[in-house]
């Protein structure tokens, strides 16, 4: 009886050890430690961003598109969790927040499409948007500058292009090597 108990105890300990060796990252303590260390190492997580309204320039872009880009951008930036706070244009709290970056979006090219044309022909009627996204510091220095595209080619409404565009902008910011003010000059004018 005693021997079988001991054997089962040994088997239990061995199973736990095997689990620890096989899945080192799954332990709750380690996970939280990794998360906190990641948060402190990347200075961008300590940053805040204020999203400005879209500048349509001379393009005949429907206002619904401008609003959709702006709203989708705020949603997608929140989803990336790269910034501590994502503020809107005109937010009164912006003046009190340190390390605030400003995201400016300017329309560079807009090709209006048609959902019916897409559905009928498949190859034509795409809605295409090209914007220049600039991430600036509070003193006006450009930290990141990218030209990003968003389009809807086959299925979906024309406004879907704004969602794709916002997702691409958020992804571009997330994937950039920019990580703080130290690298701001190095990244100046970077484009893709």
């Amino acid at each position: 009886m005693k021997t079988s108990r001991r054997i089962s105890w040994i088997i239990g300990v061995a199973a736990i050890l095997a689990t620890v060796v096989a899945f080192p990252g799954r332990l709750p303590g380690q996970t939280s430690a990794a998360k906190s260390s990641g948060a402190t190492s990347g200075s961008s997580t300590q940053r805040n961003v204020q999203v400005y309204r879209v500048d349509a320039g001379d393009h005949d872009l429907a206002y619904s598109f401008q609003v959709a880009i702006y709203e989708n951008l705020i949603e997608e930036l929140n989803k990336t969790k790269q910034f501590e706070r994502v503020l809107r244009d005109g937010d009164r709290n912006a003046g009190n927040i340190p390390n605030l970056l400003v995201l400016k979006t300017t329309i560079e090219k807009y090709t209006p499409g048609s959902e019916t044309r897409r559905a009928v022909t498949t190859v034509s009627g795409a809605t295409k948007l090209t914007v220049r996204s600039q991430l600036l510091t509070s003193d006006g220095k450009i930290v990141l500058e990218r030209t990003v595209n968003g389009e809807v080619r086959f299925f979906g409404s024309n406004l879907q292009a704004t969602h794709n565009l916002a997702r691409n902008i958020a992804k571009a910011i997330q994937q950039s090597t920019w990580s703080g003010s130290e690298q701001s000059s190095a990244m100046l004018g970077a484009q893709f």
């Binding site: 005949d60 429907a62 206002y63 959709a68 702006y70 209006p112 019916t116 009928v120 022909t121």
Partner: protein, 194 residues
């Protein structure tokens, strides 16, 4: 010949009466039309107004692309998703209204799948006719913290004008929206001519 001539020129006692009745009928008909027009144009700012709409994006705690009822009551704009509590917005916080039209395919995902599955490209032919024009109503409003928010609703054609008129009657600016509509329509025309 003479007889016909005489008949045509003959003043029947009932002829004048019939003409008079006809004229009265016409006058009454057009009068009614005029009355209907004059009662439709002024908007009663205090009266509640509601219409069916689709929330495309922008409202907090509301799913995108969901159907519901858009209503204006007093100083509030409400959107109530079917079977859920309504989301309210103060009309005084709305800064601008923009209205444009957009043609969309009807039927949603089931229709799209059906069209894709249809043999001999029949789906394309269906697509040619299965579209409908909608009014896209865009509102720009200021939140509690001063931040700019945008909301987009999709309404049946003609309903967007009604909502805009109601909002304008309640004191919202729509001047930029007029420009937008003109710009949009010219862009559409240019695209059509290409």
């Amino acid at each position: 010949m003479n007889r016909l001539f005489v008949r045509r020129n003959h003043r029947h006692p009932y002829f004048d009466g019939r003409a008079l009745i006809g004229l009265c009928g016409l006058w009454f008909w057009f009068g009614l039309g005029g009355l209907a027009q004059s009662t439709a144009s002024p908007v009663n700012a205090s009266a509640p107004f509601s219409t069916r709409a689709t929330h495309l994006l922008g409202l907090e705690n509301t799913k995108s692309n969901c159907d519901g009822t858009l209503s204006l009551q007093g100083n509030e704009l409400q959107f109530q998703q079917d079977g859920k509590p309504s989301v309210e917005l103060e009309i005084t916080s709305v800064r601008h209204i923009f209205l444009n039209e957009e043609s969309k395919q009807v039927g949603g995902l089931p229709m799209t799948l059906g069209k894709a599955a249809a043999p001999y490209g029949a789906g394309r032919v269906v697509s040619l006719f299965a579209h409908k024009n909608y009014d896209i109503l865009t509102l720009e409003y200021i939140g509690f913290d001063g931040g700019v928010h945008g909301v987009i609703f999709q309404l049946s054609k003609g309903q967007g004008d009604l909502v805009r008129n109601e909002l304008v009657a309640r004191g919202v600016s729509s001047s930029s929206g007029e420009d937008q509509r003109t710009k949009q329509s010219t862009a559409e025309v240019r695209r059509e001519n290409k």
